[in-house]
Structure formats: C-alpha cells, structure tokens
C-alpha cells in the first residue's frame, strides 16, 4: 500500500514538473518580448542578453510610431476584421437557416457544393483574384480584403448544423400559421436561439481574419492601408535591425488580443475546440 502511494506521489511530481516546464516554455517568449520592448539596444546586443525589463518602453514605442502608422494599421485591422465578422455572421446564419429549415429544389446538392469548396486551397485562385481586384480598382483599398472575406463556407456549414439541431420544426410551423414571413422567422425566432453559435463562429472568424497575412500583403500595397500584420513585417525591413523597436511594435499589437482572450478565455477556448471538433 505504501509503495503504491509512493509511486502515485512520484507520478504526480513528474507530471507537475513537466507541466510547469511546458507552461514556462509557453509563456517565456511573451516575457522576453516585453524585456526586449523595454530595453535599449546596447543592452539587447550585449552578450549574455539582458533578461529583466528595462526603462525604454516609451522611447522604443515612439520609434515604432516613427517607422510605421501603428494606430492606423490597428484601426485598419479592426475595420476589416469587424466588418468581415459581422458580415459572415449574418450571411452564414441566413444561408444556414435556408439549408436547415427551408425546402427548395437542389438544396442538398447546393449544400454539398459548399462543403466541397472548403477543400480548395486559397492559394489556387490567388493570382486571378489579384487581377480581379485590380480591375475593380480596389488595390490598396480595404474592400479588397473585406468583400472576398465575406465568403465563408465553414460558417454556413456550422450554422446549418447548429440551426437544425437547436430550432425545432414545430416552432417554425407555429410562426408560419401566425403568418410570419421567412425573414421574420429568421429574425425573431432563429437569431435569438443561435446567439451562442454567433459567439463561437464570431471568435473563430475574428481570429482567422485578424491574423491573415498573405492576401492583405498582396492587395494592400499602400502603407496607409496596411493591416497590423503587414505593418509589423515592415519593421523588419531596416538593414540594421532595431530589435527593441521591432518587438515593441509586436508586443503592443499583441497585448489587446491577449487582454480580450484573458477576459473571455473560457468562451474562447470552448469556441475554438467546438469549431474544430464538431466539424
């Protein structure tokens, strides 16, 4: 019995030690990013490098502001991300409602088609899409990112699944008898029921669009239209790299997301796992 207990205790110790080490490895780059963002270059380039936060927080960030339109880029990212997120929520829930509850010829095949489009890698149409955007005169225009971003096959799939399992047909029948139009049914019955699905899909879409890089890099060429991801990269352009400045920009671009994440972390983690697991 006591040897069993001992074994259990050493197992516990082993698991805790590994988890703590992993946790530290996971958090260390954040800490180190803060250290770099607050230190002057002579300390950063010292060997061994500095390991404690310094006093240059503001001057490093000032250099970021001199180098890129940081707040403009954050605003651009925010505009793009919120427009796409809200647009996707509305378009996908409408389409999801149609696929889940309305009967029309070709419903199944049209839905399968949408699922099929999820298999296509986005790079396949990259070059022609770039020329379409050029033709539309949308180069260096946020619409170049927003409009194609509204097309979201996963969102339709997700909403369809959610609506068919959470809204009973009887509810819709009853509303019909009382003369509700289909849009009324969507707005007054479906939307209140699927608010949790909005939260989940909203978080997934927001994260994906916020971090998107290749497409904004291709179409948002003018510096004033850069999203924050594109702007951050241009911090790396100088021949002699100022690491304090580079990581200061990266740090302050990351902090807002981390704050939001920490506030809503349960919803966040649940959304990400649900989105992954249920598909």
């Amino acid at each position: 019995m006591s040897s069993e207990k001992k074994k259990l205790r050493s197992a516990k110790l082993f698991i805790y030690t590994s988890l703590i080490l992993v946790g530290l490895a996971s958090l260390f780059p954040f800490y180190w990013m803060f250290v770099m963002a607050t230190n002057p270059n002579n300390l950063i380039n010292r060997n061994p490098p500095v390991m404690t936060p310094g006093t240059e927080m503001f001057s490093n960030f000032q250099k970021v502001l001199d180098s890129i339109p940081f707040f403009q880029a954050m605003l651009n990212s925010l505009i793009v991300t919120t427009s796409i997120t809200f647009g996707v929520l509305i378009l996908c829930s409408l389409a999801g409602f149609a696929f889940a509850k309305l009967h029309f010829p070709g419903r199944t095949i049209l839905f399968v088609f949408i699922l099929g489009t999820m298999m296509i890698p986005p790079q396949l149409g990259l070059i022609p899409t770039y020329f379409i955007i050029t033709e539309l005169g949308w180069l260096s225009d946020l619409r170049a990112v927003i409009v194609p971003g509204l097309m979201n096959a996963f969102g339709i799939f997700w909403m369809r699944q959610y609506i068919s399992s959470s809204v009973p047909d009887e509810l819709i029948e009853a509303a019909r008898i009382d003369g509700c139009s289909n849009f009324r049914i969507y707005w007054n019955i479906i939307v209140p029921v699927i608010l949790p699905a909005f939260a989940t899909l909203g978080i997934i879409v927001f994260m994906a669009i916020w971090g998107d890089y290749l497409w904004p890099l291709v179409v948002l060429q003018d510096q004033s239209t850069h999203t924050i991801q594109v702007a951050l990269r241009s911090l790396m352009d100088d021949r002699v790299r100022d690491y304090g400045m580079i990581l200061s920009g990266t740090f302050w671009a990351t902090v807002p997301l981390i704050v939001v994440f920490l506030l809503f972390n349960r919803l966040f983690i649940k959304s990400i796992t649900d989105g992954a697991v249920k598909s």
Binding site: L8, A11, I15, S18, L19, V22, A25, S26, P29, F30, W32, N45, R46, N47, P48, L91, A95, A98, F99, L102, H103, F104, P105, T117, I120, P121, P122, Q123, L124, G125, L126, I127, P128, I132, M151, E170, D178, G179, C180, S181, N182, F183, P192, Y213, L214, V218, Q229, L232, R233, M236, Y243, I246, L247, A253, T254, N265, I272, T273, A276, V277
Partner: protein, 332 residues
Amino acid sequence: MSNTLRKEINTGAEEHDGETENNVKKPKKPKKRLFSQKQKDMASGYLFISPFYLLFAVFGVFPILFSFYLAFFRWDGLGEMEFVGLNNFNIIFNDPLFWKSLYNTIIIGLMGTAPQLIAALLLAFALNSVLIKYKSVFRLAVFLPYVTSIVAVAIIFSVIFSNQESGLVNSFLGVFGIDPITWTRSEWGAKVAISAMIFWRWVGYNTIIYLAGMQAIPNDLYEAAKIDGATLRQQIWHITIPMLKPFIIFTVFTATIGALQIFAEPHIFQGRGGRPEGISIVLYLYREAFGSNFFGTASATAIVLFFIIIVFSAANLLLVNRIGRSGKVGEK
C-alpha cells in the same frame, strides 16, 4: 425581442380573435394567398444562400478556372498573353529552387507538426490526469501562443534565433561552448527556427482539442477495463487512442494542410524574397508572381500545390485508417 415577435404575430394573424398567447391553435384554413408556402420557401431559400454563390462565382470559380488557364500562358500581368502549352510546368520542374521549396515545405512540415502532435497528445494526457490540480491555469498557459498572430510569432522567433552572437539561442549555445549559428542562412538552422515557430504556436491548440476528446470518453470504459485488470498502458492503447481517433484525424489533417501552405514564417524570417534554406512552395509562388511578374509559372505552381495537397490528404486518410485498425480491441 419577444415583444416584437408577439406584435408581429398579432398583426399577422387577423383571423385569430386577438388571443395569441397560445401559438398551437388548431390550424385554421389559411386564406387564399398569392404564393404557396412552397413557392415562398423556394424564393427565400435561394435568396438567403445567394450571397455565397455570387461571391464564390467572382472570387472562387472564376479565379480557379482562370488559374488553370493562365498556367498555359506566358504573361507578365500587363502585355499580351502568349500560349506556351506545358512550358510553364517545364520551367518550374527544371528549376532547382522549385524542388528545394517542395523539399523544404515537407521537411519543415514534418519537423514542425509530427513532434508537436505527439507532444500535444502527451500534454493532454497530463492535463487529463486525475492527479492534477490547477488544470485551467496550465490550459491557459499552453493556449496563449495560439492567440498570438503568426506574423507576431515569426517576428518574435526571428529575434530569438537572430544570427548575432548575442541572440538568445546563440548566447545560450555559447554557454556550452557552441559557436554561434547563422540561423537565417544555414540549411538546418533555418528549418529548425521555422519549425520552432510552428511548434510553439500550435502545440497548445492541438492539446486543447485532444483534451476535449479525452474528456468526452465515458469513464465507465476505464472502470470496466480496470475491473478486467487492464494496466494504464493498455487503457491508453485500447481505450484512449481509439476513442480519440476522430480528433487525431482532424488534427493530422489540418496540420498537414496548414504545413503545406506555410508562407509567413519563411517570408518574415528570411526576408521578402526568401532564401533557398527556408523557401516554401507558397513563398516560391508569391515570388514568381509578385517578385518577378511571371504569372504563368506562378499559376502552374498553384496548380501543382493543389494536387500535392490532394495527394497528401489522401495519403493521410489511408495512414490514419490503418492506425485506427490496429487499435481494434478498443473500438466498438
């Protein structure tokens, strides 16, 4: 919200005598309407799904078809398009850098995802263990990197793996008397650095997914196995792994497809044009198109990438199926 609904029901239901609390009244025969319910459903159904199809026609179907078309032409984006047959494919297949980008993508994909998925599985086991408290704190810690954008991760790790002697990794290696490594310009250095970025950002994400899978496994299965005298190892091999199969399939799939599309990491780590040590297929495509204005060869690359993704997905499916079969005992 419910008020507006009620109001709507009130106004919409003239034939009811005001008393609309109860929605399940016996259905009266509806008045003759202009359109039947079936026609209405059809109209609104098509209307509600039409935005996707309109967008997909412009930003999906057309670009994809045009990519296939463009792959057979020489075009610099401005002048005349010139039909060149299979020449674009010839050009990229004879370009050593193309093969290098393919090789790099596969090697970096393997180094960044295979150990990462195994680590995620082990971490999920640890976090699922009954012996552990403060689970949510650990969960939060490992998940935090996922909240960081790929660009931010690539920048942070570019600085961690900087070529200077004072770079974090180099100065750490210096403690053990190892000479500083020029990470961005060495064959394996670049691959290790890029794989590390992928590992760090995604390991927590995959851990959380495995953990969700493990928590969905009913405890009775383990209880029954224990009564039958199964060891911990047997429980893991014959219950946990087979029950996790759908989750493993999902993570392997997304990781593989994601790895084949790597772009931001080498693009940021090695500079805009990329370098042969770390260039990926998508970066090669980007460089052909937006660096050199060779839109024909870039389209050919996109098509090759498309088929590579199909082949890898199929291979994955076969492989994962086989793994599942060896764990037959635990399957129902």
